[in-house]
């Protein structure tokens, strides 16, 4: 038997011995004919499953880096194996930028340590260069409005909507972030695979799903009285509800310039939070929130936005960030309890 025949036989035998997909997790078990986000009939259930399995995989992968536990179930027997990864990626390292912004990469080539940020409203730009001045290696990431000229490039295989072009010594990749924003990455002296991995590590691109809220029982704003909206705020605060249209309203809390909170509530689209990543300064996710909540700055104030009960809630306040987060989490809890 030749070497190629031996390899074929081994691969076929290994394939037969693989655990069936349904034994590897809940999502697999739910997919008799369609993938996990496949159709409206079980879209909600599948979304929850994906969320749960995604978090499970994500936490598994983030947990320590070198040891992975794989559990398989065959019939009634459970078999757990612990294996050690033989090596780690040597070309990319966790980003040294030190911020957890939604449009910042979470990995960068390990020698691109010298990063600087330029905010030239309405664009944000991050440039990271090699720490060795004799080496010409650089990546620039810029989030810019879609009104800017679009990159005339070719499709990037496996990455829907991405386009790539080579301009002199630079490689440029452009990715639509939402309806109103695009991310443009320009690299010099960086391998194409590295650049794709860096762009894909940007949370608003690679983990966009984390910004899409789970389905909840919708709240019909027009049927919700002013008194119910006022009751969302603690009783010791001065509250006023102003309806600007039948489908949106302002809730104004307090009157002093230090602790005034302006809340706008209106109709939501699932991708709204993605748009705010380009809208807000220093956009990132609120830690430990039960749902995706984007926090950032707007006109030197703290703004927090989230989608709940089918509505977009936007809070703007001059309060310190910690207080604004606490206020938003309390408000979110009150919204959950609305009938």
């Amino acid at each position: 038997m030749s070497l190629e025949e031996k390899i074929r036989a081994t691969l076929e035998a290994e394939a037969e011995r693989l655990p069936p997909p349904s034994a590897l997790g809940v999502a697999g078990a739910l997919t008799p004919t369609r993938p996990r986000r496949a159709g409206p009939v079980f879209a909600v259930a599948a979304f929850l499953v994906v969320l749960i399995s995604g978090f499970a995989l994500s936490s598994l992968l983030r947990n320590g880096g070198l040891v992975e536990q794989v559990t398989t179930v065959t019939d009634s027997t459970e078999n757990e194996a612990t294996v050690t990864a033989p090596s780690v990626d040597r070309t990319l390292a966790p980003t040294a930028v030190g911020k957890e912004l939604l449009w910042y990469p979470t990995v960068l080539p390990s020698d691109l340590k010298d990063c600087s940020e330029v905010i030239n409203d309405p664009t944000f730009r991050l440039t990271c260069t090699a720490d060795d001045p004799g080496v010409e290696r650089e990546i620039t990431l810029e989030i810019r409005p879609t009104g800017y000229p679009k990159l005339d490039g070719e499709a990037v295989p496996g990455h829907f909507g991405w386009s790539r072009a080579f301009q002199g010594t630079a490689e440029v990749i452009e990715v639509p972030v939402g309806v109103t924003w695009r991310l443009r990455a320009v690299a010099v002296g960086v391998d194409s695979d590295e650049l794709v991995a860096v762009v894909d590590s940007i949370p608003v691109i690679g983990d966009r799903q984390a910004l899409i809220p789970a389905f909840e029982l919708p709240l019909v704003l027009v049927d919700t009285g002013d008194d119910a909206l006022e009751a969302l705020i603690a009783r010791d605060r001065e509250v006023e509800v102003v309806r600007d249209t039948t489908s949106s309203a302002f809730i104004v809390v307090g009157s002093s310039s230090e602790d005034r909170v302006l809340i706008h509530v209106g109709s939501a689209q699932p991708g709204d939070l993605v748009e705010f990543v380009g809208e807000l300064g220093d956009a990132r996710l609120v830690d430990q929130a039960e749902r995706p909540m984007v926090i950032g700055t707007s006109n030197d104030q703290t703004q927090i936005v989230w989608i709940q009960r089918g509505l977009l809630w936007s809070l703007l306040t001059p309060m310190p960030e910690g207080q604004a987060v606490d206020f938003s989490l309390d408000l979110s809890q009150s919204i959950s309890s609305l009938p």
């Binding site: 070497l3 036989a9 691969l11 011995r17 004919t33 992975e68 794989v70 194996a81």
Partner: protein, 160 residues
């Protein structure tokens, strides 16, 4: 002899047919390349979901399964890079499985880097042509040939 390549010419007309015909093959080939069934299942699910979302386009391709494999492999390698992981290199053996014909070959395959093993899986397990492999992996046909040659050399040395 019927090979996996025989399926390339008979693209199903609906996503449901495609999914039923190709899911297992996609999952298995990704698992063999990644040596990680859990990640392969996630990657196959992700790739199939993306295929469904743009089936009007993907369904018109000559071989949608190649597009799906490419998307799955890219998704998995991005995930591996993001978390600074290399593949685990070991396939989990279900209880009661028949023995492998040659465990040494399996071990040697596991020792290959992902780039080389992907070519081996596409060429020797799926029986795809050099041109198809090049298209799927986004590399030239010469690189496919060179990677396969290097992989076979390394396997031969490992089995000596």
């Amino acid at each position: 002899m019927k090979t996996n390549r025989d399926h390339l010419d008979s693209a199903p007309s609906t996503f449901d047919e495609f999914y039923r015909a190709r899911y297992t093959e996609t999952y298995r080939s990704l698992a063999l390349a990644l040596r990680n069934p859990d990640l392969a299942r996630e990657a196959a699910d992700e790739a199939m979901t993306r295929a469904l979302e743009r089936w009007r386009v993907v369904g018109g391709y000559d071989a949608p399964q190649q597009w799906v494999f490419r998307v799955g492999l890219n998704w998995a390698t991005s995930r591996l890079r993001r978390h600074r992981y290399e593949t685990v290199g070991v396939l989990v053996e279900p209880v009661g499985s028949p023995p492998l014909p040659d465990p040494d070959v399996s071990e040697a395959l596991a020792s290959l880097p992902l780039k080389l093993r992907s070519v081996v899986v596409l060429r020797l397990y799926l029986d795809w042509s050099t041109e198809d492999c090049a298209e799927v992996l986004g590399i030239s046909t010469e690189t496919v040939k060179s990677r396969l040659s290097r992989a076979l050399d390394r396997l031969e040395r490992a089995l000596e």
